[in-house]
């Protein structure tokens, strides 16, 4: 019996390493061999890397009561998406882009609601305005899920807007686009054709199988595995054919400390794949080749970030900026209460 630590702290939602076997089919697309591939330098052509992330927050759970006395669930929520724009060659300072919070009143049913405006109590506290959005059904977590969905959509939209168009030819040299987007989590439906790389921090699904996963433990920092292709949602029973396809590869960002599992410090990256192609477009290959160098530079250090190295330095800064953009939860709660108090007429 050997005991190793999961790298992530116990108070995060999940561990980093769950390694559920992927039930679908995974194809070799880059090479038939299974060996480490060294990182390459970032081409001068790539001028900008945008790290995109988003954050949702529920600010109050609400119960709405209509004229007939019927109760329905709702919630005040907020979400924010944003990006850090940086130069992969370090030629300028990194900057925050588009970090803006939005507030919604998520509710179920066919009620017609006006935007709720929480008037400021003094000129410095600003205006809080909750735009009404509906969600279907009456489930308990509906409001929260709606806010999450809105956040993901906004995140995806921002990634799309920021990323260059991705050429998917097989052979063209120098096709790597000018702006690459590193997006938190897997790439989404609808992002096809854009230079968006999904950064999956956790290894919850094992796409490799017992015979291949050993390579991950032996990767040196910056090295990657060959590129693979799989179909999203493939459960191995043929039920999901026709869904979108993904290229994926693994990169090691840093050496794991001896007390952690050997897979600590490894990150899985994803990009869109054109349907049923048996080649890797040149641009994807180039992106994979530079990924080790780029992520090695962006990887965080364990004494600064509990989810190091996968939680990248710009990502952590972005998370902090996003929390700030949403404002203090306590102050917002207080504002909501005083707003309701005035509505009801408990205070003048």
């Amino acid at each position: 019996m050997r005991i190793r630590l999961d790298p992530w702290p116990i108070d995060t939602l999940d561990g980093q390493l769950t390694l559920e076997p992927f039930k679908g089919l995974v194809f070799n697309v880059e090479t038939d061999g299974w060996h480490a591939i060294a990182a390459q330098a970032i081409p001068a052509r790539v001028r900008q890397i945008c790290v995109v992330d988003g954050k949702p927050r529920m600010e109050a759970r609400l119960l709405l009561e209509d004229e007939t006395g019927t109760l329905s669930l709702a919630g005040f929520g907020a979400f924010v998406v944003g990006a850090v724009s940086l130069c992969p060659h370090g030629s300028r300072q990194a900057e925050l882009r588009e970090v803006k919070a939005q507030r919604v009143l998520a509710y179920s049913g066919d009620l017609k609601l006006e935007p709720t405006r929480l008037s400021p109590r003094n000129p410095h506290t600003g205006l809080l305005e909750y735009a009404p959005v509906t969600f279907a059904g009456a489930q308990l977590e509906g409001a929260k899920a709606r806010v999450q969905r809105l956040m993901l959509d906004a995140e995806q939209q921002l990634s799309r807007d920021l990323a260059s168009v991705m050429p998917l030819d097989e052979t063209d040299q120098n096709v790597l686009p000018e702006t690459l987007v590193l997006q938190d989590g897997p790439v989404r439906v609808g992002e096809a054709g854009r230079a968006v790389i999904g950064c999956v921090k956790t290894l919850h699904t094992d796409y490799l199988g017992a015979d291949r996963i050993g390579l991950l433990g032996t990767l040196k920092p910056g090295e990657r595995t060959p590129i693979l292709r799989f179909t999203v949602g493939d459960r191995g029973d043929g039920s999901s054919s026709g869904r979108e396809q993904r290229f994926t590869w693994y990169v090691r960002l840093s050496e794991p400390p001896f007390y952690q599992h050997p897979l600590a410090g490894v990150m899985r990256l994803e990009m869109h794949a054109p349907e049923d192609v048996d080649f890797v477009p040149r641009a994807v290959l180039d992106a994979a080749n530079l990924s080790g160098t780029l992520l090695g530079r962006l990887a965080s250090a364990p004494h600064k970030d509990a989810r190091a190295p996968q939680n990248l330095i710009p990502t952590a800064a972005l998370e902090q900026a996003m929390s700030r953009a949403m404002g203090s939860q306590e102050l917002v709660t207080r504002r909501i209460r005083s707003h309701l108090a005035r509505e009801i007429g408990a205070v003048a």
């Binding site: 940086l86 300072q93 530079r297 600064k304 330095i313 710009p314 800064a317 972005l318």
Partner: protein
């Protein structure tokens, strides 16, 4: 020169641009607050700023203050090593540039805090006058130096001349603190800015009022050339103006003439020599225009100067008793003299009864002995106290004091004999005595008394005697015509722990001089070692470069912490000035002396080219 000191810069009329906003992440108080400096603006220490805030009733309160701290830091990052990631372009961060303001004035006096977000601007023109309380000083303002941005700092003469306060105290390390230079600059400013006349008129005294200054030159012959132009001043000032980016030289900006002191006299002790030698001043670099000063022996007795001979040691009670008694005896003796001259004629001295017969005794015509030297005076005292009546002494002189005390007395006198003999002489004619008597209050506007060549006891004697004379004179004639006394090394003359007659005089000046019109411009290396009452009586306090350990002593608590830290790095020519009208000290620089401070700085050519002067000679 009757108009007020002009501080305002008449060129710009529109209000200066915003340089920042009051911060909300630090406490904002009516006396101290931080502001975030706007992008592109530059704020440095000592900048004077102004903030306006609105009260809920719509009235405006204006805060004037002084920047005493500026800092930059990365905002939004947690770790110190993050700077590397920021510079590498990986971590987004912004630089926060903030400045702390010590409020010098709130107008009107509503001590509410400014609101975070209030706009901060540089104080200029009228606002600067308000920040430095120049509007309160009116005609009493005279320039005390230049602020960092080239505007003159007004000092209030009413707090100098004793009207509302008096005395100036300057602290700093020797050499780099330039204490004496600043004291002279202040005198120059007082004498030439016309402030004395303005205040005289303003106080309803009418006419002009004049002032005099007495400077004791305690080291080198630095101050013996104050009446000569300095040949380096033009270059130095051009250099300084260029370095600081001023449009004109600093004298022009201060509104002061660039000239040496005009109405001066220089006094120096005589060279020691045998009686009958020519009396010449004991100075090395300058002899022309320097008057030797000598006290006549008869005056020494008649004016009770004996106690200042013992200045350097705190005598025991008994010794003090002997000194007082002998002083009284000599006083009576001197008053009983009928013959003209400066000697002391005694009839009750039998030198042949002494174990050691003094040489060169001067027998008078009628069997008396004429005491003409300090040496003989001591011999006479030895005879009266220890030798007469087979060693019992003269009862009236001894007054039952123990032999030990009497011997201590004579031993001490012998100890200082060598030092005082050239200064106290009984062989002068009355005309000579008149000529060489130091005359500080009826002569020139500025008297320099050179005592640097004197030994310690003689310095104490001279300073003590002269200061007492000034004090007694002012006691008789009142406070008109202020007398400024510049004295360096107060820790020697008025040490905190010992007592001495000279310290008593200084204390009198510090505590009562204000109302008599005697203003002490005192300087010392360490205020912590000077009698507390002397330092605490100074209304205007100035600090040059200080030892950092010294700067933490309670005497310097009038400096806020940040200023105490900076006192350790002040350059020559830069001082921190604290005055009652402005609650915080202000950093100033002052111009290079227009007068020579060394012989090689003397501008013999009167500013002309050497070639021109040569041509004149050849013609």
């Amino acid at each position: 020169m009757t108009q007020n000191l002009k501080l305002s810069n008449p060129g710009s009329t529109q209000p200066p641009a915003r340089i920042g906003m009051v911060l909300g992440t630090e406490d904002v108080t009516p006396t101290i607050f931080w502001f975030a400096v706007s992008a592109g603006a530059s704020v440095q220490l000592d900048d004077l700023v102004v903030v306006e805030t609105q009260r809920p009733d719509g009235k405006t309160v204006t805060f004037y203050g002084l920047v005493d701290n500026v800092r930059k830091r990365h905002e939004g990052v947690t770790f110190e090593s993050d700077v590397e990631d920021v510079v590498a372009g990986v971590l987004p961060a912004s630089v926060s540039y903030a400045a702390r303001v010590l409020v010098t004035r709130v107008d009107p006096e509503n001590f509410i805090p400014p609101q975070p977000g209030d706009v901060v601007r540089h104080a200029r023109g009228h606002e600067l006058d308000m920040a430095l309380s120049a509007d309160k000083m009116k005609e009493g303002a005279f320039p005390g130096g230049l602020l960092a941005d080239g505007q003159p700092l007004p000092l209030n003469f009413r707090f100098v001349n004793g009207e509302q306060g008096g005395h100036i105290n300057i602290s700093g390390i020797s050499g780099v603190a330039t204490k004496t230079s600043y004291a002279l600059f202040l005198l120059h400013s007082i004498f030439t800015s016309g402030v004395m006349d303005r205040v005289g008129l303003g106080s309803g005294q009418g006419g002009t009022s004049s002032g005099r200054a007495i400077i004791f030159n305690v080291k080198g012959e630095d101050l013996l050339f104050l009446d000569k132009p300095n040949n380096k001043v033009a270059d130095k000032e051009a250099e300084a103006s260029a370095a600081k980016g001023f449009a004109a030289d600093r004298y022009t900006m201060l509104g002061l003439p660039r000239q040496p002191f005009r109405d001066t006299q220089f006094l120096a002790p005589p060279r020691s020599g045998a009686s009958g030698d020519a009396i010449v001043p004991n100075t090395d670099q300058r002899s022309e225009g320097v008057t030797p000063f000598i006290f006549s022996l008869r005056e020494f007795c008649a004016r009770r100067m004996l106690e200042y001979v013992f200045s350097d040691s705190a005598g025991s009670l008994n010794l003090g008793y002997v000194i007082g008694n002998v002083e009284e005896k000599l006083f009576r003796l001197a008053n009983a003299q009928t013959a003209p001259g400066t000697h002391l004629s005694v009839t009750d001295w039998r030198p042949d009864e002494q174990t050691e017969v003094p040489e060169g005794i001067d027998w008078g015509d009628v069997g008396d002995i004429q005491i003409k030297t300090f040496d003989h005076l001591i011999s006479y005292l030895e005879y009266k106290l220890l030798e007469e009546n087979d060693g019992a002494g003269d009862k009236k002189w001894v007054l039952n004091q123990a032999q030990g005390t009497l011997r201590a007395f004579t031993r001490r006198l012998r100890g200082v004999q060598k030092h005082l003999s050239p200064l106290i002489r009984g062989d002068l004619t009355p005309a000579q005595a008149e000529k060489y008597r130091p005359n500080l209050l009826r002569g020139a506007q500025l008297s320099v008394v050179d005592i640097h060549n004197l030994s310690g006891p003689a310095q104490m004697f001279v300073v003590g005697v002269l200061l007492r004379e000034v004090f007694e004179h002012k006691e008789r004639y009142g406070r008109q015509d202020t007398v400024f006394v510049v004295l360096d090394e107060l820790n020697k003359y008025a040490p905190r722990d010992d007592s001495s007659p000279i310290k008593d005089v200084l204390l009198e000046i510090a505590e009562r001089g204000r109302s008599l019109g005697i203003i002490l411009i005192g300087a010392q290396q360490t205020a912590s070692e000077v009698e507390r009452r002397i330092v605490s009586n100074a209304t205007i306090r100035v600090v040059g470069r200080l030892d950092l350990a010294e700067a933490e002593r309670p005497e310097y608590r009038f400096l806020p912490q940040s200023f105490r830290g900076r006192a350790g790095i002040l350059q020559p020519g830069t001082m921190l000035v604290s005055q009652p009208d402005v609650p915080n000290p202000v950093l100033i620089n002052y111009p290079f002396p227009a007068w020579a401070t060394r012989k090689d700085e003397v501008d013999d050519l009167n500013g002309r080219d050497a070639a021109d002067v040569g041509d004149d000679w050849l013609r």
